[in-house]
């Protein structure tokens, strides 16, 4: 079964083509890393796949639901967890209130919501900030809360846009373990990250996007056969050239 399948999706912002005829195929039960340099179109792709942004052209299927059908697109959200690039938090709710709200909106039983909220808050080390509203949270705390909210409904597919950015080493380690367990249970993770080491360590498959176009899609095993992920990435993105620019005053 395919968790994500896109056919020629394109997103145009005025004259700029952020995503250009993208054909993605992500199998279920894999840890998929979506890589690319800044401004390559990674976040735009995730936004389109999660329904935050409409594609200009092309078709998308998530967990076999056709996203061009509004009702199917809404219904499939019940099975998907998302940590978007710009977080989706309400300023004036505490972490527990926010998680409770999310749990109820996913129609989880109240006892389950309470239990999972407690575990997630403890795991993300947010229990000490019970009385703070999310407006007062640091970026890292907000990120952890968004991750907790994405994990709360136990989704089949997780879309994570730069999940490790701004979170501390302890939470990062814990999150990596959680995500690996998540995938072991047959669930799918679709993750973007700038940190190639994390992607190399966690992901089973990668896709590389440059200037809105998918230039590589392979399993990690295939990539490792010809060197490291970093070498492959630099070979694709930097066209194999080392930076030639030098600073005159540092060379003197």
């Amino acid at each position: 079964m395919l968790a994500v399948e896109t056919s020629g999706i394109t997103r145009q912002f005025d004259k700029v083509c952020a995503v250009d005829r993208l054909d993605l195929r992500v199998e279920s039960g894999i840890f998929y890393g979506f890589l690319g340099p800044n401004g390559a179109g990674k976040s735009t792709t995730i936004k389109m796949l999660t329904g935050i942004l409409a594609p200009t052209r092309g078709t998308m299927r998530v967990l076999e639901a056709d996203l061009s059908d509004p009702e199917a697109a809404r219904a499939v959200k019940q099975r998907v967890g998302v940590v978007p690039e710009d977080l989706a938090l309400f300023d004036n709710l505490t972490a527990r209130e926010y998680l409770t709200f999310v749990g109820r909106m996913y129609r989880l039983p109240p006892a389950t919501v309470r239990e999972r909220c407690g575990e997630l808050l403890a795991m993300m080390d947010l229990a000490g900030a019970e009385k703070k509203v999310t407006l007062e949270f640091s970026h890292g705390m907000k990120k952890k809360l968004a991750l907790a909210a994405a994990l709360l409904p136990d989704p089949e597919l997780l879309f994570l846009d730069e999940p490790f950015e701004g979170i501390d080493a302890v939470a990062s380690r814990m999150l990596k373990d959680v995500l690996l367990t998540f995938v072991k249970r047959g669930r799918t993770v679709f993750l973007t990250s700038h940190v190639l080491e994390i992607v190399e360590k966690l992901c089973t498959h990668v896709g590389i996007i440059v200037n809105g176009r998918l230039v590589e899609q392979a399993s990690m095993a295939d990539i490792r056969r010809n060197g490291s992920l970093e070498e492959r990435f630099l070979a694709i993105v930097g066209n194999g050239h080392a930076p030639a620019q030098k600073l005159s005053w540092l060379e003197e």
């Binding site: 935050i52 409409a54 809404r74 710009d86 300023d91 004036n92 709710l93 409770t100 709200f101 229990a127």
Partner: protein, 571 residues
């Protein structure tokens, strides 16, 4: 700071201002330029008028005329200054000192530059030329002694600006915490609004007293002058108009002393502000208390009790109830929402009290009471109506969560409406209780008011849902109004306001029917009124319920556009 650094910082300020204007579009830039030119012309015209008034009229007038004239000028300046201060508080400082301190620039230079640029505000640009023009005119027409007005005027400006800068610094330290920041902005704005509303209430009270004792009052000009002088007894000695009055009376020493006092006061204020800034940047600020207690360790994560967000609402789907409770919790904490409601309720109470103080409530006819009861219902929706017509504008990034949710959109609308129903209900009950006490509303009027409240809520709910989906606009955190709203959105909002007023007017139909049946007796009239009100409630409920699902589908179709609008401006 050397000359190059000074010029670089001036250039930086200029570029930041120009880029901010450009970001708002070319039309906005053109409008700003027109306003700037118009303002400059106004300032020049004001200065010339000041010269003419000073030289031709005020120079030969009595000292009390000087006092009153300068009172008006200084009062207008202070009014514009305070308005500017409130709007400045609502946006971030363009040039934060911390953005400069890693450059080779001393803190003192950066502080002075920031203070100097704080003087480049419309109130100074427009009022200072007028004041200086008036001083020049008086010097030309009344003699050299009036030249002392120049240091007096500049000292007044220096003193006001230095202490304001000190206050701004103190508030900035307080506002480092984003939650406290919004509360500070809300409190300052609310205090200002109430301060400006207070004369209305005091005026009503005094006019009531005046009307009762009109015949006994001496209304001669002599008495008015005495009143003016009595009022001045409560104003501090360094008040600019005192000096002007004394100069007109031929006594230069009080003016010279006043000028010196104002300059010393300003210097003290600036030193105080600088010391505060220094303390703050060294981490010794009085505004910041360092919490030395260790962060509690998450040993147990069980909640203390059932929170508001967990409450259920009978007969309402669980996700709609969750939406209602989370929105209510969020609204009760959001200072911008509290300010919108608080100013409205306070304003209405002041106006209502002023009117009731004016009129004899015992003389209100029985047949008018149902209309008053419905009027109370209408009034209680003035503030809530603003929230109902833009239900997603306060969500900002939170709206992204709503887009990501699998919840049927009609339930999101229902939840939002229910949360606003709770807020509107509390306001309505306040008005109804006060009305009941002051106007002695009977059970029929109370029942009518309750039914009308439900009808009004359903009307506003239906139209508000449509408006929120079709004409959303972003309310920035800590502000009560949108900074820029598209022309089409403004037109749609005006349209919805007019339609809401027209359709909301239906709640006055039941008392009107009762009034028409008044000849058949009070019982028949009451029954007709209540029957019509019940029919209206039933009708509006049917319309609301029928419209909910189509509006939910419309919300789903437009949610990306709404998301784009409510999250566009980064905080």
């Amino acid at each position: 700071m050397n000359r190059d650094q000074f010029l670089a910082l001036l250039w930086l300020r200029w570029r930041l201002t120009v880029n901010a204007m450009r970001r708002h579009g070319e039309l906005s830039l053109i409008i700003s330029m027109i306003f700037l030119c118009f303002g400059a012309l106004l300032a020049v015209a004001g200065a010339m008028c000041g010269v003419l008034v000073g030289a031709l009229w005020l120079a030969t007038a009595a000292p009390v005329a000087h006092l009153i004239t300068w009172d008006i000028v200084a009062g207008l300046f202070l009014l514009f200054w305070i308005l500017g201060l409130v709007s400045q508080l609502q946006r971030a400082e363009i040039l934060d000192l911390r953005q400069l301190l890693h450059y080779p620039v001393s803190l003192r230079s950066a502080f002075l530059l920031n203070y100097a640029s704080s003087l480049c505000v419309p109130s100074v640009i427009f009022c200072l030329p007028c004041m200086l023009g008036l001083a020049l005119g008086l010097s030309l027409g009344g003699g050299f002694r009036f030249l002392l007005l120049f240091p007096l005027v500049l000292g007044f400006l220096f003193s006001v600006s230095a202490w304001t800068y000190c206050l701004q610094g103190w508030l900035a330290v307080l506002m480092e915490n984003p939650r406290r920041r919004r509360n500070v902005i809300m409190t300052v704005t609310l205090v200002m609004i109430l301060l400006f509303q207070l004369p209305n209430l005091l005026g009503s009270v005094s006019s009531r007293r005046a009307s009762s004792a009109l015949s006994m009052r001496d209304t001669s000009s002599g008495a008015s002058v005495t009143t003016v002088l009595q009022v001045h007894a409560a104003i501090p000695v360094c008040w600019l108009p005192y000096g002007a009055r004394m100069l007109a009376a031929g006594n230069v020493w009080p003016a010279a002393g006043g000028a010196l006092g104002l300059w010393l006061l300003g210097g003290w204020g600036l030193c105080h502000a600088y010391r505060g800034t220094l303390r703050h940047y060294r981490g010794e600020g009085a505004g910041r208390t360092v919490d030395k207690t260790p962060m509690p360790v998450a040993t147990s994560c069980a909640p203390a009790g059932v929170s508001l967000v967990e409450w259920e609402i009978p007969l309402v789907p669980d996700d709609a109830a969750a939406m209602a409770m989370a929105s209510l919790r969020s609204m009760l904490r959001a200072p911008e929402v509290r300010m919108t409601l608080g100013t409205n309720v306070a304003g209405m109470l002041i106006l209502g009290m002023a009117n009731l103080l004016h009129h004899n409530t015992a003389a209100i006819p029985v047949l008018a009471k149902p209309f008053i009861a419905c009027g109370m219902v209408a009034v209680s929706f003035f503030g809530v109506g603003t929230l109902m017509t833009n239900q997603f504008g306060y969500d900002r990034d939170g709206f992204r969560m709503l887009v990501l949710l699998p919840t049927p959109r009609w339930r999101i609308l229902l939840g939002r409406n229910l949360s606003l129903a709770a807020v509107a209900g509390v306001i309505f009950l306040i008005f109804l209780s006060l009305g009941g006490l002051l106007i002695h509303l009977g059970p029929v009027e109370v029942l009518l008011a309750l039914l009308s409240f439900v009808s009004m809520f359903l009307i506003y709910g239906t139209l508000g849902n449509l408006s929120s989906v079709l004409a959303p606009f972003r309310i920035p955190a800590g502000a009560v109004q949108a900074r820029k709203v598209k022309g089409l959105t403004t037109l749609l909002l005006m349209f919805f306001s007019l339609v809401s007023l027209a359709v909301g007017g239906l709640i006055f139909v039941p008392p009107l029917m009762g009034w028409l049946c008044a000849s058949a007796g009070r019982l028949v009239s009451a029954l007709v009124t209540l029957a019509c009100a019940a029919a209206l409630t039933g009708g509006t409920l049917a319309v609301y319920w029928t419209s909910l699902k189509p509006l939910g589908r419309l919300l789903q179709a437009r949610e990306r556009q709404i998301l784009d609008v409510v999250t566009r401006e980064k905080e």
